[in-house]
Symmetry: C2
Subunit: 320 residues, 2 copies
């Protein structure tokens, strides 16, 4: 009897990406200073500038449902989650392409509202929609590619951590997960759209102490593991330091949720997680907060011992 073929879900996202990277090879030519495996790819264009590219899909039934999100929210979010990848690179948006697939019988008025949400977000962040593709399909899917720019060699990568570096997050964690779970539980409409931390990312790219950065899409536990894996390091996290939204404890109680699970595995925070160089004088979260223009919390530090202390393991969402 032939061995049962493994499924994509059996292997999981990271292993599948590794398979693609291995097959594609590491040789991507000298134009590219960064390829597969980070938040974005980096192309050298001028002596003083690089372009960064990232792509992300929002699929009906996986990332959104028309019964739960409004069409405008779906359009806005499709761009916002991509801009978040640019933020994690410290890049400034330049433009976006959108490949939209939808069932032929879908309504034009819904289409219009999706587009309207997307374009409003594009205008807000100075990221014009410059091209795309339309195709019929069995389900809606918004596949977006964003282009950003940053100063040569200043893009924030996932790699670059050192033992003793402080680990920081912007904003609060868990708010997106709570909103989603509340909508699922009570059947309310979800209109929350993450705010891509473009300005904070640009500020981080200007600071010489920033060592590595990633945006929190899958949840702190998963994304921190990605960040650490790039350098083969570990982390010691203080769960009490994780920044919570207002009324967090009450909301978790009302929804009968494990607070730490929501904070670290809820996903879709789209805040920045970054490492800042250890120095004799530890950089305070308040100082960074002032530089970045929004709340910053120190949540722990990088260790030589692999593994993450202080966080429960949680499975990745939306993926194989």
């Amino acid at each position: 009897m032939p061995r049962r073929d493994r499924s994509l879900a059996d292997l999981g996202e990271s292993a599948l990406i590794e398979r693609i990277a291995r097959r594609a090879g590491r040789e991507i030519g000298r134009d590219w200073s960064l390829g597969i495996g980070d938040d974005a790819a980096i192309l050298s264009t001028r002596r003083d500038e690089e372009l960064v590219f990232s792509t992300d899909a929002q699929v009906e039934g996986v990332h959104f449902r028309f019964g739960r999100e409004t069409p405008r929210t779906i359009g806005r979010r499709a761009l916002a989650v991509n801009l978040s990848d640019l933020a994690a690179m410290g890049a400034t948006p330049v433009g976006a392409l959108m490949s939209l697939s939808a069932p032929p019988h879908a309504s034009v008025s819904i289409f219009d509202r999706v587009i309207s949400g997307f374009v409003d977000e594009a205008l807000r962040f100075g990221c014009p929609l410059v091209g795309g593709n339309l195709s019929s399909a069995g389900e809606w899917s918004l596949d977006v590619t964003v282009i950003g720019r940053c100063r040569k060699a200043r893009a924030l990568r996932r790699r670059g951590l050192g033992p003793g570096d402080g680990l920081y997050v912007t904003g609060v964690l868990g708010a997106a997960a709570l909103a989603r779970l509340r909508a699922d539980r009570f059947g309310t409409r979800l209109t929350r759209v993450p705010t891509p931390r473009i300005e904070a990312g640009r500020a981080l790219a200007r600071l010489s102490g920033t060592r590595a950065c990633i945006d929190l899409s899958d949840g702190l536990a998963t994304d921190l593991a990605h960040l650490l894996a790039a350098d083969g390091l570990g982390a010691d996290i203080d769960p009490a330091s994780l920044p919570r939204p207002r009324g967090f404890r009450r909301d978790c109680r009302d929804l009968d949720l494990d607070p730490l699970g929501v904070l670290t595995g809820g996903g879709e925070d789209y805040e920045l997680l970054f490492a800042f160089r250890s120095q004799r004088k530890r950089v305070s979260a308040a100082t960074l907060s002032e530089r970045l223009g929004l709340r910053v919390s120190r949540i722990g530090g990088v260790t030589t011992a692999r593994g993450i202390l202080g966080l429960p393991e949680t499975p990745s969402r939306h993926h194989f």
Copy 2:
């Protein structure tokens, strides 16, 4: 009773794109020299160079079926049809991003073969896979964005025709449609992948007489209409001049097909359709063929009277 909401299929692709373009606005900033509505968008990067961007999706059940195409063919084609858009701009490939969606239960060995086909095509055309995204979904979808470069202000656009210009196509028409129809009829595997006309496109971009160019994805009738619409002109086509593959008449008879319908509406030719400036001395197809390194046929000329003489109207495929 409320008026029935129109569907995407009611409106059609062109009208939907126009709706997006109107909503997005024409103001895309001075970085971009071309936005929505052509084969690709153009970004100014250096004084002597521009980057071009295009995106195209291949959706299971719409553009391919696993029973009909092999997984390798599906992977190769997903890149090839995108490279064809770069060819139509006269651009040289720089890199590609692929957003792949698939059902979680899909097999890893099929995944590997799809990736393998994509990467082989990438290596063949010097277009490294530099990034992407994986997502679970109800159906397979390969959404690819390609980046190309060309000399400043030399990209081939759709706009730029003049009355009296000659209209030319590379290669032959109808071969892809015949192969697809044969596979459908006899249940044979489809392994044909279009050859993106990268070198021909680059050669056209160097010739000063080239006026406008588009790649033939939907079929000559539809794509010629797109080319003419950009300048509000018409065309006079000689059906007898349309370049046919070997054994074309016999194949059409065996499959009981209208030859002209196959040539002009079969789609997926991925040849280049371009206009060349009228001069006192008409440029011969043989001269162009020599410059482009492949067969070139003169199929007619541009007229001031709108409409296309000599071609039947055919509906667009794969679209709303």
